[in-house]
Structure formats: structure tokens, C-alpha cells
């Protein structure tokens, strides 16, 4: 058995607590038993002596008090010996007394009767003679008003002593009854023996039983551990089976299963993502490879070489752009600590965007106009990324708007948000494509337009930046007429 296990510790704790409870309980029980037994014995002694006193008085009442009648009475009571004239009158009393003697086992007890001078009047026949002087001496010291109880040892045996004084016709007498404690001591010893034997047995039993219960309780933990050990990055299918578990364990197992599910989803997501990235990069590579192959075959044709090199240059640029965008996305989604927000005057900011957009739109002779309100608005923004957001949208607008088209930028307030809309007079987006344009690597179908292909990340990045600013991007479009992208940013 391992000592640093939960099972061991719980079992020990459990056993120690049970042991303390059992010991305290047994001690209380033992002493209460002892007390009860002594009390019982004392009551019995008192009853015996009282009975004796009463019977003695009754005898003497019948016979009349004299030294002879007293001797006769006492001997008659203690040893049923001796005779006296007119004793037939006492038959009923004697019979009653003998019944009591049998009932209380008075023959087993040592009884002596002393007078007020502590002189022996009578003693029971079984009373050991050698004890007499000690007894008589002892009785002198007793304050003989109330019944007095005491313990006496002799002959290596223990006895309970009752001393009771009574007065008969102005003569004081003392009855002393001595009864053996043997039955009580025997009973208590047996009880102690039972306690001493049973407590360790109960504790050993409970220790192992406790171990079994702890094992049963901890079973889910082992199952979870088993499941966890089965899980690898290749196989995230394993789940803990939740059956007959306690609430807490059910909660643990459920939480564990949910965690695995989330991990599985993330892994699927990553796998899908890397597949998408590879396929996205495969196209430019296929072009580079094909062009190079072609150029290599056309010997001594510098024009073909130049052409191939130019295409390869453009395609590798495109690949780099895709990779840069992917890295940016990673930063936006997973390394946000590098992003610093500052209070930004959005009018000033949009003015800069507008100036640059006009220059960009110039080569397609697209007219850009902007409409700003008079009020100043501030937003919490990372300028660099926010600029990226707007240029991704504006570049798209320029790309999809035919020559001499229009792009208009407008800023309005809506409740606690700013709405910055960028409207173009471009080709528009087909209704079925609208829900998907923010997806990663989504390319719209560019029918018959000579539009250079993008990498399908621009709008996805724009949306990620908007979300990072606690904002959003909305889109409205009529196919063939134009598109309106609206950037929603919360006002600071």
C-alpha cells in the first residue's frame, strides 16, 4: 500500500476519527456502567440493612426487649439458630425473613451488629474472626448518623461496606453489611476486555472498508486519468463515460469531457486552417513551378526568361502577402498584448484615410468624397490596425469599382456607436455570397472582370480588427450597383 495516496490518507483519517469516537464512547459507557452497578449494590445493601433493622424491631416487639431476646433475635436472623420460649409466634415473621434472605442472598454477605459502645453483639456465621478487631475499630470512627458506604479489601478481595445505625428503645445499634464486589468486578472486567478487543478489530475492519469506499468514490478519477492517457493530438475521441457518478464527480467528468471537446474543435480548426493555408499557397507555387519549367525548356530566349522571372516575382510577392496577412491574423487573435489602444480623434483619423484613399483611387479615376459631422468623436483605437481595417475595405472598393466610379465615406452617430460607411459604385456582391465574405480565404466569383485575385484574407482581417475594437462590420450590397460596408465602433 502506498502511504502518500489519497486512499490511504482518507482511510487513516477516517479510522482515527472513528477510533476517537469509539474510545470516548466506550469510556463513557464503562464508567456509567460502573456507576450504575455500584449504585445498585448500595441500594441493595441499604434495603438489606433496613429490612434487617425492621425485622429485628418486629422480633423484639413481639418478644419484648431484653439482652436474651436480642441475642436470640440476632442469632435467629443471622444464622437461623437458637430457640426461645414463644418463638412459634414468630413463624410468619421468620418465613418472611427467610424469603428475603433468599431473595437478597444475605447468606453470602458478612454482617455484624454492634452496640453503641462498638462492642460486638452478633455476627453472621461466615464472618472471618481475624477481621473482627479491625472492624470494630473502624466502626468507632464512623459518624453513625447516616448510612455510610465504603470499600474494604482483605484477603486480596474487594468488598462494599455499609454501616447503618439505628435506635431501638433508646439503645443505639450499628449494623454493618459487607458484600463482595466480585460479580461487579467480574462484569466490569469482561466489559473492559470486550472493549479492548473490539475497538482495534472495528478499526481494522473500518480501515479496509473505508479503503474500499474511497476506491469506489475515486473510481471516476481513475477513469478520467485512463481517458486522459488515451488522448493524443491524433486521437481526441476518447471521453469519460458518465454513469452512476456522484454529482461532484459527474461535474468533474463533464468538465473534462467538455475540455476535450473544445480541444478537439480547436485541433480540427487548426487542421482545417493549415489545410486551407497549404492549398492557398499551392496555387502561386504551381504557377511559379510551371513558369520556371516552361522558361527552362525555351532555350536561349531572354524574353521568355524575363517574362517567367516577372511572373515568379509577382507570385512570390503574393505568397509573401498571404503569409504576412496570416501572421497578422495570428497576432490579432492570439497575441493581443502587442496591441495598444489610445484615445483617437476619429475625424482627424478619417481625414488622413481620406487623403490617402484619394491618391489610391487616382489611377482608376475614381472620385472619393467624404462627409464628416461637425461634432468631434473619440474612440479607443489601435491606429495602425484601424488604418489597416479601413484600407482593406477601401482597397476592395477601388478594386471592384469600374473606372470613373464613386466612393463615398460617411460618419454618423447611432446611439453609443459611430457608423463609418464606405459606399462604392462597384460590381456588388451576390446575395448568396454576402454571409460568407468575412470567411477566411473566401473568394467571390469574379465573372469576366479582369480583377487581380486577392488572397481571401482582407475582409477577414478587417472584421477581426473591428471585433478587437469591440465593434463590427456590416455589409449591404446590390449586385451590379454597389456595396456599402459600415464599420461600427463604440464611442469613447
Amino acid at each position: 500500500m502506498k502511504f502518500n495516496t489519497f486512499k490511504f490518507k482518507i482511510s487513516v483519517l477516517y479510522t482515527v476519527i472513528l477510533g476517537i469516537i469509539l474510545i470516548v464512547y466506550s469510556v463513557i459507557l464503562y464508567f456509567s456502567l460502573q456507576f450504575t452497578l455500584y449504585e445498585e449494590l448500595d441500594r441493595e445493601l441499604l434495603t438489606k440493612s433496613n429490612e434487617m433493622k425492621n425485622v429485628m424491631s418486629s422480633y423484639l416487639d413481639v418478644l419484648g426487649f431484653s439482652q436474651q431476646t436480642l441475642d436470640y433475635t440476632v442469632n435467629r436472623l443471622l444464622s437461623q439458630k437458637g430457640s426461645y420460649p414463644g418463638q412459634e409466634k414468630l413463624i410468619d415473621l421468620e418465613n418472611q425473613w427467610i424469603q428475603k434472605v433468599d431473595k437478597y442472598d444475605i447468606r453470602e454477605d458478612y454482617i455484624i451488629l454492634l452496640n453503641s459502645n462498638s462492642e460486638l453483639v452478633a455476627k453472621s456465621p461466615n464472618f472471618p474472626k481475624e477481621l473482627l478487631p479491625a472492624f470494630i475499630k473502624k466502626s468507632k470512627k464512623l459518624a453513625v448518623i447516616d448510612p455510610v458506604f465504603g470499600d474494604i479489601n482483605f484477603d486480596s478481595k474487594s468488598y462494599r461496606l455499609l454501616t447503618l445505625s439505628f435506635t431501638y428503645q433508646n439503645n443505639q445499634y450499628i449494623i454493618q453489611i459487607l458484600t463482595s464486589l466480585k460479580p461487579i468486578i467480574h462484569l466490569l472486567k469482561t466489559r473492559l476486555f470486550h472493549i479492548v478487543i473490539s475497538i482495534p478489530l472495528i478499526l481494522i475492519f473500518s480501515f479496509f472498508l473505508g479503503g474500499v469506499f474511497v476506491m469506489r468514490t475515486l473510481r471516476p478519477v481513475y477513469e478520467i486519468a485512463d481517458t486522459a492517457s488515451k488522448i493524443t493530438h491524433e486521437d481526441l475521441n476518447a471521453r469519460v463515460k458518465i454513469e452512476n457518478y456522484d454529482e461532484e464527480m459527474k461535474y468533474l467528468a463533464n468538465t473534462f469531457n467538455q475540455m476535450i471537446s473544445r480541444l478537439e474543435n480547436s485541433f480540427k480548426h487548426i487542421a482545417e486552417f493549415s489545410s486551407q493555408v497549404s492549398h492557398e499557397l499551392k496555387t502561386p507555387l504551381a504557377i511559379i513551378k510551371g513558369e520556371s519549367e516552361y522558361a527552362l525548356k525555351s532555350k536561349n530566349n531572354p524574353r521568355e526568361y524575363r517574362k517567367a522571372l516577372r511572373i515568379n516575382f509577382l507570385e512570390s510577392n503574393r505568397m509573401l502577402k498571404t503569409i504576412e496577412d496570416l501572421l497578422l491574423l495570428t497576432r490579432l487573435n492570439y497575441r493581443q498584448q502587442n496591441i495598444s489602444f489610445e484615445k483617437t480623434d476619429i475625424k482627424e483619423f478619417m481625414q488622413e484615410i481620406y487623403e490617402q484613399s484619394r491618391i489610391l483611387a487616382l489611377k482608376k479615376k475614381i472620385f472619393v468624397k467624404m462627409n464628416l459631422p461637425k461634432t468631434s468623436y473619440f474612440v479607443e483605437a489601435d491606429k495602425l490596425h484601424l488604418r489597416r481595417l479601413f484600407f482593406n475595405i477601401i482597397n476592395n472598393a477601388i478594386k471592384f469599382t469600374p473606372k470613373k466610379g464613386d466612393i463615398s465615406i460617411e460618419l454618423v452617430q447611432e446611439k453609443k456607436n459611430l457608423l463609418i460607411s464606405i459606399a462604392d459604385t462597384g460590381v456588388g456582391i451576390m446575395q448568396e455570397d454576402i454571409p460568407r465574405i468575412f470567411e477566411r480565404f473566401f473568394h467571390v466569383n469574379r465573372t469576366g472582370q479582369n480583377i487581380e485575385p486577392g488572397n481571401g484574407l482582407g475582409l477577414h482581417i478587417a472584421k477581426s480588427i473591428a471585433v478587437m475594437h469591440n465593434g463590427d462590420i456590416r455589409v449591404k450590397s446590390t449586385f451590379g450597383e454597389g456595396t456599402v460596408f459600415t464599420v461600427v465602433l463604440p464611442i469613447k
Binding site: 496555387t283 504557377i287 510551371g290 519549367e293 516552361y294 507570385e315 473568394h443 469574379r446
Partner: protein, 132 residues
């Protein structure tokens, strides 16, 4: 002279394949879109289509919708950046499949071998008659 239609939305790929196929003595037409391609198929005598599918998208169903109409009048080689197994899963009945990363030499030999194969039935001819 055999006629080949290239359907691909990548201008770089269109230009490259066009250049190579012309050099190999084929008559080449290009299209960047499925709808346009379908129109071209009706009006001209195409022997073989090189069709770029993009597997995650539903767009491929457009040509698949068109295909029964023209089936077997021309041959079809599916081209994409996806593996041949994935392409086969997406479009099960093509004559051949080509992974764009496998160089142009492979493409030419695939085209030649597909065009050499004889038709097993004349259903294609029947189709053509019905269309005209």
C-alpha cells in the same frame, strides 16, 4: 486540331496553361467562370475541359448541374491544388485528375492519354444530336 477549354479563376494558371497547350498544338479557349464556360460549351466544339474545382465551395455543383447536359460530348480533366483522391471524391466521373503542383509535363501527358482513349459508347454523340 483538338480543342481544349480551360476553366480557372486564376489568371496566372490560365495564362500558363494556355501558353503550354498552344505550344503543344492544341486549340485553347479560356474561361474564368463556370457560367461563361457553359455558354462556350454550347457554342463551340470542345474536346476536353480542364476544370479547376475548389473543393470547399459549392460552386463546383454549377458545372455538375451543366454536365449531364453535355456529358460525353467532351472529356473532362479536373485540375486543382487538392490531392487526386480529394478531387475524385468531389467529382467522381471525370476522365482524369490533375494536381496543379505536379508540373506541366504531367498535365500534357494526361491530356494526351485522355484524348487517345476511345469512347466506350456513342451516348455522347446522341447527346450532341439532341442538343443541336
Amino acid at each position: 486540331m483538338k480543342s481544349i477549354l480551360i476553366v480557372d479563376d486564376e489568371i496566372g494558371i490560365r495564362n500558363l496553361y494556355c501558353k503550354i497547350l498552344v505550344e503543344n498544338g492544341f486549340n485553347v479557349e479560356v474561361s474564368d467562370d463556370i457560367y461563361e464556360a457553359c455558354k462556350k460549351l454550347k457554342n463551340s466544339n470542345v474536346d476536353l475541359i480542364l476544370w479547376n474545382i475548389e473543393i470547399p465551395r459549392e460552386v463546383r455543383s454549377n458545372l455538375l448541374d451543366c454536365l449531364p447536359e453535355f456529358e460525353r460530348r467532351f472529356r473532362l480533366i479536373v485540375i486543382s491544388v487538392y490531392s487526386i483522391e480529394e478531387q475524385r471524391l468531389a467529382v467522381p466521373n471525370a476522365d482524369d485528375y490533375f494536381d496543379k503542383a505536379n508540373g506541366t509535363g504531367t498535365l500534357i501527358s494526361k491530356i494526351k492519354s485522355v484524348l487517345r482513349k476511345k469512347r466506350l459508347s456513342n451516348s455522347g454523340m446522341l447527346m450532341k444530336k439532341r442538343l443541336t
